[in-house]
């Protein structure tokens, strides 16, 4: 943390806010490359032996592939070529005209086609990435060998259960907010700040993660401009999009999975989670799958407890060879 110093100029503050942070166990990707996904540039990061069996790792909403900087090296050490990409509008991938779940899936297929064409691979998805891969597992099961879903099984919209008249009011407010965002988003830019300021902002969404980790994330997920750091996430994107899609539809698709499946759920609620509990998912767990539940851990279990989570995943995946 860098506190403001009385009398210090912005230039002084910038100078003090150096551009590098270390985090125990965090490792820069072994390989980084870009892919043209139907005109959208997608940034891909890899850890591990380039000739090892592929393990696709799919990040969640508002995250980016470098959030796997600790977790991915642990998986790579287990003998996997870990491949993660930044979704369009996230991380180092292009900001583009339109964003949708379908478009994210299409970009994902481009990555699969480039990395592992015509053969099934191991897949891990976290949060929105888990919901995406559950949907892809239903649409294109031939791409999957084994599937790990880390707290990416929504069972309802986030927020409290509401009476009908309250729901209508909420819907109106959501719609007004969404359209207001669409009207002003043409000129939007992200607010600049110091590493500490960006980390503090992200901390509101990631309250269980350490300041040290969040500051590290700034240095690998934000851009350092002349007037400060800015998260790379496209400012035209907005959490809580508006539309007819029901989060629980991904849950229903889970029931049809016919390859080994591991679902990881957590008990500590936080803003980015769906609050899904085992009782919500158990009816839809396929015969080829199982659930693991961690009462005292949160939505970012792979960041909170990377070694334990990696061991769990590696044990489930088995010998990569």
């Amino acid at each position: 943390m860098h506190d403001a110093t009385p009398g210090a100029t912005p230039a002084d503050a910038m100078a003090a806010d150096d551009t590098h942070r270390e985090f125990p166990g965090a490792r820069t990707p072994d390989r980084s490359w870009r892919l043209d996904a139907n005109g959208v540039g997608i940034a891909i990061n890899e850890w591990g032996d380039a000739d090892a069996p592929v393990l696709m790792c799919v990040h969640g909403g508002a995250d980016f592939s470098r959030t796997f900087d600790v977790f991915a090296p642990l998986l790579a050490a287990g003998g996997w070529r870990v491949v993660a990409w930044d979704h369009r509008g996230h991380g180092d991938s292009d900001h583009t005209h339109l964003y949708s779940f379908d478009a994210d899936l299409r970009d994902a297929v481009c990555v699969f086609d480039a990395v592992a064409p015509n053969r099934p691979v191991a897949v891990l998805g976290h949060s929105k990435g888990g919901a995406m891969m559950t949907t892809l597992a239903d649409a294109q099961p031939y791409r999957f060998q084994r599937f790990v879903n880390i707290d990416g099984v929504p069972y309802r919209r986030p927020g409290p259960d509401l009476a009908e008249h309250q729901r209508a009011t909420t819907l109106r407010a959501d719609l007004d907010g969404w359209l207001a965002h669409r009207r002003r988003t043409a000129g939007n830019t992200r607010k600049p700040g110091t590493i500490a300021e960006l980390a503090r902002r992200r901390g509101a969404m990631n309250p269980r993660l350490s300041t040290e980790w969040l500051e590290y994330l700034v240095t690998v997920g934000a851009r350092h401009d002349d007037d400060g750091w800015r998260w790379k996430l496209d400012p035209s994107m907005r959490m809580g999009g508006f539309g007819p899609w029901r989060p629980e539809w991904a849950l229903y698709r889970l029931a049809g999975v016919d390859f080994p499946f591991l679902g990881v759920l957590v008990g500590a609620d936080e803003p980015m989670g769906w609050g899904t509990r085992p009782r919500h998912v158990e009816p839809y767990v396929p015969a080829t799958g199982r659930l693991e539940y961690f009462e005292d851990l949160g939505h970012f279990i792979h960041i909170e407890a990377p070694e334990m989570t990696a061991d769990l995943v590696l044990d489930f995946l088995g010998d990569p060879r």
């Binding site: 369009r88 005209h97 379908d102 970009d107 988003t185 007819p244 899609w245």
Partner: protein
Amino acid sequence: MTTAGNTAATEPTVTLRHNRVELALHRIREATGDAHPLLLLHGLGERTPDHTPDVVASWDGEIWGLDFTGHGASTLPVGGGYTAEILMGDADLAVDHLGTCTVVGRGLGGYVALLIAGARPDVVHGAVIADGPGLTGGAVSPTSQAVVRLADVGRTPDPYALLELGRDLRPPDYALDFVQMATSTSHLDEPLCVAAAFRPTWLEAVAGAPGVAQMGLPDALDLYR
């Protein structure tokens, strides 16, 4: 749409900015009387007609048409990602530009007319849902939708628009949410009108809801003039 003979389109075409997309809002015809503007929303794969369609020629206010994202003279996005809600955002900018207006939508444009009538009931003075391409939409429950990559054709209409907006989810209860928002706020007794002969599931639900008229387009225009 067939068009009314020699009623040529007139300038101006207004460019509206929706995030990184430039939308073309065309004035098809100047006012011949006192009515407020009429906004036409085209169907899937269509564009704003060059001339006043016969079916709305009786309207004596200005007649405008909006080219949706990826259609007509509006921007061709890269890599798809269409939703009907994005087109609602397109329409929102158009009604914000025009002020009080009546909206007539063909097919997909009819669905968007419903959405914008629910979203802006204080500005949309009646919305008419008419037959046209893209009226049906896609599933109303979870399905295994193909994840498809398409060849870039480099011009509108965008093939990704045809793919994604031809199968976007339209659950009836979601459509009814917009009916409720329109009817609960509009000062009109019947702020929505179904003029379409074909009624997919979502539209059948809309047509049966309180506050929704059912009549032909000419009568609907009389209702909202």
